[in-house]
């Protein structure tokens, strides 16, 4: 069982905001099949592409960072992205385990 009280990623997001960084929360909201991290797993990304935490075992983090930077540039509040093996990008950022995940991106504002 996960103890969400012990996770400090939201506290870190708050610290980033306090130092005037733009922060996106990226949260695993759905998984299908086998996936490396469970629903509720989270990473945070700033406008420079610095990140902390994780949403997979390193399989899709680079793509998530790109999407987050895009979100900040376009000044959009939120976006849902899905990673599937059948995606064309699978060779690049697919999940080696064969699972699928949906990640929700939202700006802290």
């Amino acid at each position: 069982m996960k103890n969400s009280f012990d996770e400090k990623i939201l506290e870190e997001a708050h610290d980033w905001v306090k130092t005037n960084q733009k922060v996106i929360l990226a949260t695993v909201i759905q998984t299908w099949g086998s996936s490396p991290r469970q629903v509720g797993s989270r990473m945070i990304v700033n406008e420079k592409g610095d990140f902390s935490g994780s949403v997979s075992g390193g399989c899709v983090e680079s793509a998530v960072v790109r999407e987050c930077i895009g979100l900040i540039k376009d000044n959009k509040p939120c976006k849902k992205i899905e990673f599937k093996v059948s995606n064309e990008s699978a060779w690049e950022v697919g999940l080696a385990c064969g699972g699928e995940i949906a990640v929700y991106l939202e700006q802290v504002n």
């Binding site: 069982m1 996960k2 103890n3 969400s4 009280f5 939201l10 506290e11 997001a13 708050h14 905001v17 929360l25 949260t27 909201i29 759905q30 469970q38 629903v39 509720g40 509040p77 939120c78 849902k80 929700y104 939202e106 700006q107 802290v108 504002n109």
Partner: protein, 227 residues
């Protein structure tokens, strides 16, 4: 997510009270759900589903909706009766599994700090010890002394308080005798059958860490089966 919501979540986490973050995935708006506190009009219709996520200790998107629920659930209380060798391994396993362990053992030479560093050990008889611990249907009991004087009062307390998991160490014969005693004390067959005895799932091992593993495996499984 609004900055003020983020701040409110961090405050709630500090207070160690259970809650959930409810996010409308379409708008990115979030609010905090707490038991017995009203939700906004928009989220009110989902209260049953949100409560389900809470009970099953899971996160997820409510079916046929764009609402994401992320729950913050406190560790489950597990009470071990008997500061025996197996208990030492149970403590190790439980640390990484989000269980909060208390050990009860009236025998001081067992329940020493040296054997259980950084552990909450209650050096009293179960009837006295339970006055110090708040227990309910979310509590689990692992009775390990196989001494009726110590185990039985704890088992009786757990049955009365409807603990979701009750396990007792001992052979089939020991367990039969235990069931007989509980029957004589007025407990129903249904109550008695809810005790996992002999405790643990069958792994085949007999060593202390192996028995601890089989107990913790059963406990985790029952925790997820809990309604």
């Amino acid at each position: 997510m609004k900055l003020e919501t983020l701040k409110a979540i961090i405050e709630k986490k500090k207070k160690k009270s259970e809650f959930a973050i409810i996010t409308n995935l379409k708008t990115g708006e979030s609010e905090i759900f707490e038991k017995e506190k009203p939700l906004s009009k928009e989220m009110e219709v989902y209260s049953n589903q949100i409560n389900e996520f809470f009970k099953s200790k899971k996160n997820g998107v409510i079916e046929n909706s764009e609402i994401f629920v992320e729950t913050y659930i406190l560790p489950i209380k597990v009470i071990i009766v008997g500061a025996v060798h197996i208990a030492q391994y149970l403590v190790d396993f439980a640390k990484s599994l989000n269980f909060e362990i208390s050990i009860i053992d009236p025998r001081g030479y067992f329940a020493s700090e040296q054997r259980f560093p950084d552990m909450k050990i209650i050096n009293k008889w179960p009837d006295e010890a339970f006055k110090e611990i708040k227990t309910n249907e979310n509590t689990a009991l692992i009775a390990l002394t196989h001494d009726p004087k110590i185990d039985d009062p704890a088992l009786q307390h757990a049955l009365k308080k409807k603990f979701y998991y009750i396990g007792a160490l001992g052979s089939k014969k020991t367990h039969e005798n235990r069931c007989q005693r509980l029957k004589e004390d007025g407990f129903s067959d249904e109550q008695i059958n809810s005790i996992h005895g002999p405790i643990g799932i069958k792994l085949g091992g007999r060593s202390a860490p192996e028995i601890a593993l089989s107990i913790i495996a059963q406990l985790v499984s029952e925790t997820y089966n809990k309604k």
